[in-house]
Amino acid sequence: MALSDPSELLPCGTKLGALITQVAEGAPAADPAHQAKCPYCQASLRRIRELWSDVRALADEPVRAPRGLLDEVIARVSGPAGAVTLRDATRGRTQVSEAVLAGVARQIAQAMPAVAFASVLAHAAGSGTVALRVQLVVAYGPSLPVLATAVREQILTHVPRLTGVQVTEVELSVDDLAAPDP
């Protein structure tokens, strides 16, 4: 156990580990009167402070995730998704994936001023139709029933207009209040 390692003891009997903790954790000195006049403690403290100044500089180094990391991860985890076949297509089928329908509904919901984030799941509900489950994070302020109605109306109006897919239902919940961005 390192706590009893003799190489950790300074000639004055002070434990090196205690001095490191003092610097690294900003802990008070165990024996300030001794420390102030002990050359061994002073020399060790100087070394530790210099090293920890570098440790903090290293911690503050800006390290950014590589540009492609997010895309690689998402590409690897996206599975095959369901799709809705449009009803009135002629001379070939037109399919719109659930992911696209969810994405369109999400954009519509997030365009509403009080909506901070919208999570949307889309389920193909039958020929040419989709059911949507929408969960919102909203900013504190607006009336929730009014907001919910407005979001539902926007989705019911614009999803069919943009995608050709009819929306059978919008299951909507307000699940969280948004925290201000730090």
């Binding site: 156990m1 390192a2 706590l3 390692d5 950790e8 090196l16 580990g17 490191i20 903790t21 690294a24 070394r47 530790i48 210099e50 090293l51 570098d54 440790v55 500089a57 290293l58 911690a59 180094e61 800006p62 390290v63 950014r64 995730a65 590589p66 990391l69 997010l70 690689e72 991860v73 998402i74 690897r76 985890v77 996206s78 992911a99 969810a102 994405g103 999400r106 001023p113 009080a114 909506v115 901070a116 984030f117 999570s119 949307v120 799941l121 489950r133 969960q135 994070v137 900013a139 699940d175 969280d176 948004a178 925290a179 201000p180 961005d181």
Partner: protein
């Protein structure tokens, strides 16, 4: 709108199958995940590999996350396990990326500091793996002892012991570059 969805909301949405919510989580945490991987492994290529594997594994095992710790702590746990495995199979002491230099300071001192920081990062890399993980999470990521204990799956006293030994080891090793 300058507001954010909480990790808890995003995790619940991702658990229900919303990949976009998971994407928001990855966007938020990828910097920390990559940073820890880089400090644990030393090479950018290995760090990116480990970060990618950890994030993919996070998606696959999302259903097992019960919210007993913060999502970030849970991610650190997956990542450190991954790094400890990756590390066993590879050579240490690969080249480290150049650290950035503070342009406002004296150029000679800036170069000297940059070299010291590289040596320090290498010094971290040669610590025993369990000590290194605890030290990186404490000194470079600023986690509490409790969070580190959760991330490493050990007790708080064990974490304190590892950090104590790691700090001593680092101080001794620093004699070679300071």
């Amino acid at each position: 709108m300058v507001v954010q969805a909480s990790d808890r909301f995003l995790v619940a949405a991702a658990q229900a199958g919303d990949l976009h919510a998971f994407e928001a989580l990855v966007r938020r945490h990828q910097g920390a995940v990559y940073r820890v991987a880089l400090r644990m492994l030393g090479s950018e290529v290995d760090a990116e590999d480990a970060a990618q594997e950890a994030l993919v594994q996070a998606w696959r095992s999302l259903s097992t996350f019960r919210g007993e710790s913060a999502f970030s702590t849970w991610l650190y746990r997956i990542l450190t396990n991954r790094c400890l495995k990756a590390r066993a199979a590879r050579h240490p002491m690969e080249a480290l990326p150049d650290v950035l230099i503070d342009r406002d300071s004296d150029p000679a001192e800036a170069v000297a500091q940059s070299e010291r920081l590289r040596a320090l990062a290498r010094g971290v890399l040669v610590l025993p793996a369990d000590q290194r993980a605890a030290l990186v999470l404490r000194e470079l990521e600023g986690l509490s002892y409790e969070q580190i204990a959760q991330a490493l799956g050990v007790t708080v006293p064990a974490v304190k012991g590892r950090i104590h030994r790691a700090r001593l080891g680092l101080l001794k090793a620093s004699a070679s570059w300071r």
